[in-house]
């Protein structure tokens, strides 16, 4: 079995006012090409830190991350695109020019950028909104523009840090369905961070449950359910119970605050 992202014994310590905090402790994972892997855990379990290290935005204190065999030393927009919980659109740019931002940094000319951006916005239901500014778009639309901006880089790997976390529940469900569709058309490797059991079961090929601070991998589960997924099917309900059992203790610890 091939490995696209190899995480080996990675740890990260943050310095806070009340001393150093070990956020991530000895995380090892092998992500396969074109799989959808979810890091599931309670708030503050270091799952976002793992993602930031994969993206080259944060340097690990220990261990090593290799993407396609090459150690990560900084952001590599040819291999990895990142979607954040806060869409982080540039307010002075239209939807179209936001999507074209990464291509602009690559030196792609304006006409080609617009063409690519249009091609991405249309299937996202944003046709007719190309010239709108972020403030004129709804929360769900903004997040779709942010996802289009990441997809515009056409990288083999997309990292998503709770991309639907700020949306209302209905929008979240629709965005999840939409993401399943997108993946069917363009299979990419996705590492997805969430604390939602529902999202994890609906979207993932594998789920890595993380412990509360310090973040470790507690359990790695294969999700062998066909798409589109029926979350009321017995297998899905079983999986949910299993995940909840694994995560409940961690959520309780997280709720009591850092030890």
């Amino acid at each position: 079995m091939t490995t696209q992202i190899q995480i080996t014994g990675v740890s990260k310590r943050y310095h806070t006012a009340s001393g150093p905090v070990l956020a991530v402790d000895g995380v090892s994972l092998a992500v396969r090409p074109r799989e959808f892997l979810t890091l599931l855990g309670p708030s503050g379990c270091g799952k976002s830190t793992v993602l930031a290290m994969l993206a080259g935005l944060v340097t690990p204190d220990g261990g090593e991350i290799r993407i396609e065999g090459v150690p990560v030393s900084g952001p590599d927009p040819r291999k990895v695109a990142l979607v954040f919980q806060d869409p982080g659109l540039f307010p002075w740019r239209t939807a179209l020019d936001n999507v074209g931002f990464g291509l602009e940094l690559r030196g792609v000319d304006a006409a080609r950028r617009r063409e690519i951006a249009r091609g991405l916005l249309e299937p996202l239901g944003l046709r007719g909104f190309e010239a709108k500014y972020p403030r004129e778009l709804s929360g769900g639309m903004r997040q779709r523009v942010a996802i289009a901006r990441a997809l515009a880089l056409d990288t083999p790997i997309v990292l998503m840090d709770e991309p639907f976390g700020a949306l209302d529940e209905q929008t979240r469900l629709l965005m999840g369905d939409w993401l399943v569709d997108v993946r069917r058309q363009t299979p990419k490797t996705v590492v997805f961070v969430t604390h939602s059991l529902h999202e994890a079961i609906a979207l993932s090929d594998r789920i890595a449950v993380m412990t509360s601070r310090p973040g470790r991998i507690k359990e790695l589960l294969e999700v062998a359910l066909p798409f589109p997924r029926d979350l009321n099917a017995p297998a899905a309900v079983d999986l949910r119970a299993k995940l909840w059992e694994a995560i409940r203790e961690e959520a309780l610890r997280a709720m009591d605050g850092p030890a």
Binding site: A55, G56, L57, P75, D76, P77, A81, L82, F84, D86, G88, F90, P91, W92, F101, G102, E104, L105, R106, Y133, P134, R135, L153
Partner: protein, 253 residues
């Protein structure tokens, strides 16, 4: 033009006309030398514009405009430069910014005698004073603009491979633009104030000198006419600056 805009404009004209009428009525029984009536202004304006009993306006306006331009350009250059140096070097900014703000709070006109001692009675001291007044709002708007930059947008740009210079050009500058243009507009108005005050406190040419000249000879009608002209000029300048500012704000969102 919508009906609402028309009504607002109409009300403004009415207020202006009303104020002129009131002024005319109040000044009518008073000493016309001290209380110049609006109706006395048109002939006085003609005197000023045709240089009857008053030095020719043109060269003085030219002197003043030149001083304003030089003072403003210098303030923009130094203010932007120092603002970015202090704002981007965090430690440096922490040391100097409170000092800068404190210095700004001191009424600058008290420095003017020093400036005359340093730079003489010519245009240099006026330029220095216009610069001094205009420099602060520019420098401080850069500092507050840098603070307004959303760090998340910087992270987004970095994740897509942007280096420091690209982040500066494509994230920081557009984020700050509204604040920056606001600071520049305030600075433009203040450089006008600085130069005019400088000319009124001691000069041999310029619009401020003319104001002083007419006032000193008790040519109060001509003095008032000059005031009206200066006001019109400054309003026109500020109107243009406001247009530029609105564009800047729209662009930066």
């Amino acid at each position: 033009m919508s009906r609402e805009t028309a009504r607002v404009l109409g009300a403004r004209v009415a207020v202006l006309v009303g104020a002129l009428l009131l002024w005319e009525l109040i000044a009518a029984p008073l000493n016309p030398l001290l209380y110049v009536r609006p109706s006395a202004l048109p002939p006085a304006l003609a005197n000023v514009l045709l240089a009857r009993d008053v030095p020719a306006l043109g060269e003085h306006v030219l002197v003043t405009v030149r001083e304003i331009v030089v003072a403003f350009v210098l303030a923009v250059a130094v203010g932007l430069w120092l603002g970015f140096v202090l704002g981007l070097g965090r430690r440096l900014g922490r040391v100097y910014e409170p000092m800068l703000a404190a210095f700004y709070a001191i009424p600058s006109v008290i420095w003017y005698p020093s400036l005359m001692l340093f730079f003489g009675l010519g245009p240099a001291s006026k330029i220095a004073f216009g610069f001094l007044l205009a420099f602060f709002p520019i420098c401080l708007s850069v500092l507050s603009g840098i603070r307004q930059v959303n760090p998340h947008l910087v992270t987004v740009a970095r994740s897509m491979g942007a280096g420091s210079w690209t982040v500066f050009r494509k994230v920081m500058l557009p984020s700050m633009l509204g604040t920056l243009v606001g600071g520049l507009r305030a600075a433009l108005a203040l450089s006008v104030v600085g130069v005019l005050v400088g000319e009124m406190l001691g000069a041999r040419s310029g619009v401020g000198y003319l104001l002083n000249y007419t006032y000193g000879l008790l040519m109060t009608r001509e003095y008032t006419a000059l005031v009206v002209l200066v006001a019109a000029g400054v309003l026109a300048l500020d109107g243009m600056a406001a247009l530029v500012e609105a564009r800047g704000r729209r662009w930066s969102g």
